[in-house]
Subunit: 401 residues, 4 copies
């Protein structure tokens, strides 16, 4: 007699393969849910495979581009953005299949457990979560990789033949993250051969690629390589192409210590080639077309947005609200930037826009434009009223005057 149906976020790796079998052992019916195109044969289980790539780019990465989303000044949120995308799809399957349980292989110390589960509770409040790495019977049984491999062999689960790298890794369309293992020592340098998505800048081409990226409403709608006239205009194609160019030139590598939602600091290494190019390009076209004070308010909302996404609150009333506001701010963020990509770096070269608030005549040193320099005297003097009053107070209250 089944305890009910579980939809498991299945990665195809050793951990979730063992969890799958273990859940069956515990008496559940299990549906494996897999993102991407699998290479493993799934003879005996029910498997849902979803290609979420276009959705991921358009509904998750694009809003992050609009926001200039960066967590703690450095991390571009590649994993954080993927989690609600996967979880939403997982919940869809669970609802459709009338499954009352959702399970995942995320650990008990990380952010991903929070992201998976908050999305699940937000979209499917009655759901029950099974997180084996937080269940003593599970984690006490599988204390290390050897225990998992032994279990896998016993249950006919295909065991990876290549030795595991001495760190863990999470890859998606937007980035690869590396952490744990030998990387846990924050002063140890990352091995040179760690990176899979970007070339070592030292071995990158000796000549830049120059790209032209066109934005409309704050999202890229076209990218053209000026060297070879390659051009892309579908969202997914644009992003894949930027990954390719960024990867070739070693763009987007960072090695940071960050603050997890659950209150610990962790060391992570990330490579986000396309996302890094887009961040620079969007920052530029946004400043070119957006009013200064709107930008300032939006900047504050973006910091909030980044925190919410990092902490797993994509599907929350406040993240809905902030996304709406940020999107509103992007109405006039339109135009084209030119940039070069070279040896790990992105250089903005120029920009133009039909919606620009830049006024060449107004700002010119050689033309007066519709501007009277005398006005500046009054502007400065009024701004100084308060400063002069404060000086007076300091004079009064200080014995030395």
């Amino acid at each position: 007699m089944s305890k009910g149906t579980v939809v498991l976020a299945y990665s195809g790796g050793l951990d979730t393969s063992c969890i799958l079998v273990w859940l069956k052992e515990q008496g559940y019916d299990v549906i494996a849910f897999l993102v991407g195109s699998p290479d493993t044969p799934f003879s005996s289980w029910q498997v849902f495979i979803e290609d979420l790539r276009a959705e991921f780019v358009e509904h998750f990465i694009w809003p992050a581009v609009q926001a200039n989303a960066v967590y703690e000044d450095r991390y571009l949120l590649g994993t954080s953005l993927a989690r609600p995308c996967i979880s939403r799809s997982l919940v869809d399957v669970a609802r459709r299949e009338k499954a009352h349980f959702i399970s995942h292989g995320a650990t008990g110390k990380g952010n991903d457990q929070v992201r998976f589960e908050l999305t699940s509770y937000a979209l499917y409040p009655e759901v029950k979560i099974i997180a084996p790495w937080r269940i003593p019977e599970f984690y006490n049984r599988f204390k290390g990789r050897l225990d998992l491999m032994e279990y896998a062999e016993k249950h006919g689960i295909p065991v990876p033949v290549t030795p595991k790298a001495p760190w863990s890794m999470d890859a998606n369309l937007m980035h690869i993250s590396y952490e744990s293992g030998i990387l846990e020592d924050p002063k140890s340098h990352a091995p040179v051969d760690l990176y899979l998505m970007t070339k070592n800048p030292e071995e990158a081409p000796n000549a830049p690629d120059v790209l032209e990226i066109t934005f409309r409403k704050g999202v890229p709608v076209k990218v053209t390589n000026l060297k070879d006239a390659t051009s892309k205009d579908a969202a997914l194609d644009i992003f894949l192409y930027l990954n390719e160019i960024g990867g070739r030139h070693g763009v987007g590598r960072i090695d940071i210590v960050e603050n997890r939602f659950i209150g610990m600091k962790s060391r992570g290494i990330y490579e986000t080639p396309g996302g890094t190019i887009l961040l620079q390009a969007h920052l530029d076209i946004e400043t070119f077309t957006m009013d200064k004070e709107v930008r300032r308010i939006k900047q504050g909302l973006s910091v909030k947005f980044s925190e919410l996404v990092y902490n797993g609150f994509w599907y929350s009333p406040e993240c809905d609200f902030v996304r709406h506001c940020i999107q509103k701010s992007q109405e006039n963020v339109e135009g084209t930037v030119q940039l070069s990509v070279f040896k790990g770096q992105v250089y903005l070269l120029g920009r133009e826009s039909p919606k620009s608030l830049y006024n060449e005549e107004l700002v010119s040193m050689d033309k007066q434009g519709d501007y009277d320099p005398c006005d500046a005297s009054g502007f400065i003097r009024i701004n100084a009223v308060r400063l002069r009053e404060y000086h007076r107070l300091q004079g009064l209250s200080s014995p030395k005057n």
Copy 2:
């Protein structure tokens, strides 16, 4: 009969040389105030020359490093930081010499006029400012460079023999900025030979330099080059050395459109080699040693600080206040980072600190540490209370459910 004494912020260039003579023509006694070591002979004028370099580094750049000060996500404030440093010294001279007037050669459309004058009013409320580029008799007489050169020749002012670059430039210890002229077209690329402080990354060395920078209370106290064991530990020496290394590897070039305080957008090109290295290094050691929530609050204060500095409010009660708060946040920002500098980019490699809040055992995937993974279930479920309630509301209020 003199109209009084003017202290002029004198750069040695054509503009301020002409202003100097013009002020005398108008009946003022003029004291030239010059920062740095001059090459020009100053036979007939009273000149004060100040070497403010150590003060600039310790009292202006270091607080900016503590703040991770960046204006509009990109500009490191090289000019903005120099202005209050110069103006404070200018005011000292004016007070000492009992001059009632201060003059400068800043234009009427820029930020520098504001920065010079707000500092002057804040520190010397009774002072009168003479800003020739905002006085019709002056700017109508000197409509272009030719007028200035003619005037200079007539008055025996040494005229620069090299042709002027088709842009204007402002250099100080921290950076060089380029703007105006051909750069006013925001889509035109900067000429390759524009940069003076940094090498073209394409021509930079093919091997990185690896630096170790040690911080105490959020400011660098030592830098060592691991390649050749070069080491510096005085503030000015550290900064000069980082400029040298950053410059050699082409670090810190940006091409941006920014929002001036007076409400126009302008295009600026900057190179800030040492400052860029320090920003990355400080961000890293700060995140490593500072509590997450303190960092969040401090991040908001830093955005404010950067705006204040950009807008010329260094000497204001609010900037005093914010600097104090930021400084307080830096008490435990101590430790050493290793980074490599290569082809325009700075890569963090590792960090260590006696004050770190990073706990390797706590975060380890292989050890449990003082952490019960079961706690995370409750944490997530309580965080979900609100999200589930919101879902209920949406269900109730939406006809489709």
Copy 3:
């Protein structure tokens, strides 16, 4: 030969009457623009009289209610909200009449000049402003009230017969403000007979009125007095009725020192009866129906909104943006509050809403609801992870441990 046409914001008082004649003297054609219904005969001038009351309530006061707009924690922005409403209408007349000039009687030290003119420049960028109180020929000629009265008599302008109160006053539908004159001494108490819109609480009725106010999308759509069943449901009627009830009970008097945009502190006394009731009522229904975290973000936007309105930036891209965001936040702010009004105070008594996020079962001490108290243990322990780490750091770094 006319210098052109001026539209003058005309109040019917001595100042603007004199300005009107003076502008004619200077050679302008003058159109007087008057808000409200005039009692003075306007034989010889061209006059536009506009009843802007409904527009003021619906397009200016209602957004302020949605925002809980309060400047510096106390001032409800009665004058600040009226200015853009009047100016927008003034600009309409100027455009329609092809007038190139706008004039007003606001002083050179106040906020109103800024509010009038920023609105005018924003909506009619080519307009020229004539602000007589900032023109030396005008203000040197009219140094005091006597000069104005003499001028008025000479030019047949009706001179007020009642002696002027020893303070100045500005009244509109939302509030009356009092300042200047004897009120400039910040420690002097306001005279008891100063207030015109609200009764002295000491003389207010000894029994409260109890009101029921219904909101939809964050604005009141109905008010009912439970004592006598009086009920209003048109925007203007609702606001007038709340003014009546609030006024009767002495609600909404404040005596404050505030910070003007131009950097001086000024002392102002305000009475805002209806606005004060609505602020309390809206705060209540908003907290009842809005998610906590949305509220937090919106609270920050409201502070910004209040500053923008106070400083005269109603018609600005950032105020448009903030208004849009705040409005978005109000979609579910719906329901009914009951409150009593008594002796200067508003007491919330109860509230109900079909969109409430309050869940009586969930919060009940007597029922468990869908809540497991054990979850709280994990929630607290995870929140403590960071605090315990910090304690460890303090222990390590302090010599006393």
Copy 4:
């Protein structure tokens, strides 16, 4: 054999009395920790009784006064401030007595459990918490008040003879809060006889009391009643006296729905007589003496402070940091305000200060002071630069122009 020693936050009421006995039953040695002066005899237990009143006022209420601390625009944090004060003392006892456990009677749905425990973990990281209302064996055994009373009788615990009010109540020096029971229905009005600390405004005296309160560094150092010359200048005496006067006039009653940290909305009724007077008085003297822009930054920090205190993070690095910054801002907050207290309301009448930034001559309508009104023209025009540019953009991009 004892399981170890527990320090129990003991209130003397039925709940904690039963918890005390139950803990002994479970095999613990129990130390009761009681704040205030007890009336009950404690024959058989070890009891610590602490008078924390002066500490509460000086180290918890005063910082809240400096901050103008208000949660969600209305709640003055009476309970939130008391909790860390009590818990810190509780931890002291636990450390001194080498107790490894702390216990309390707070429920599993409220904020107090979080506040008690976060303080305990922050100051005593190794402590174990016993929260019986979150332990199934406890809460399943004591399902209602009757179970507790039966248990009490069986164990010789004195049972309250007066029937319990149909709500729960928490009283301390600063306020009384009422919630639960019949108050859980958010539309039901609070009973007239609920309030214990403040008189019903309808029955309050018909003449105001007029107080003069003097502040130094943002905290009250003296209060004088101008009616009878009563005067207090010790912290605790000042606060008690303000409670007396505020209570007499029915000041500080609110009825709100608030957002608990754990994500539910709850209805609470509070009376905070002295705190409400101090909030108004401090707001006034602060605005009078603090620079406008410092105030703005401090206002943001205060919102943060209030959230932190409400959520139980008094003892956290970020609350330390914010308290330090707020305290810094108070250096010049000095002076005297006069106010009247009448029928539930506080009216500011006047203020004076040796550190005021208010400049009567500067702001006067009758004197020019050191102010040139012409400056305002330039100030406004420069502020309009951006608005006019935006208008241009809108004109270009909109087909209707």
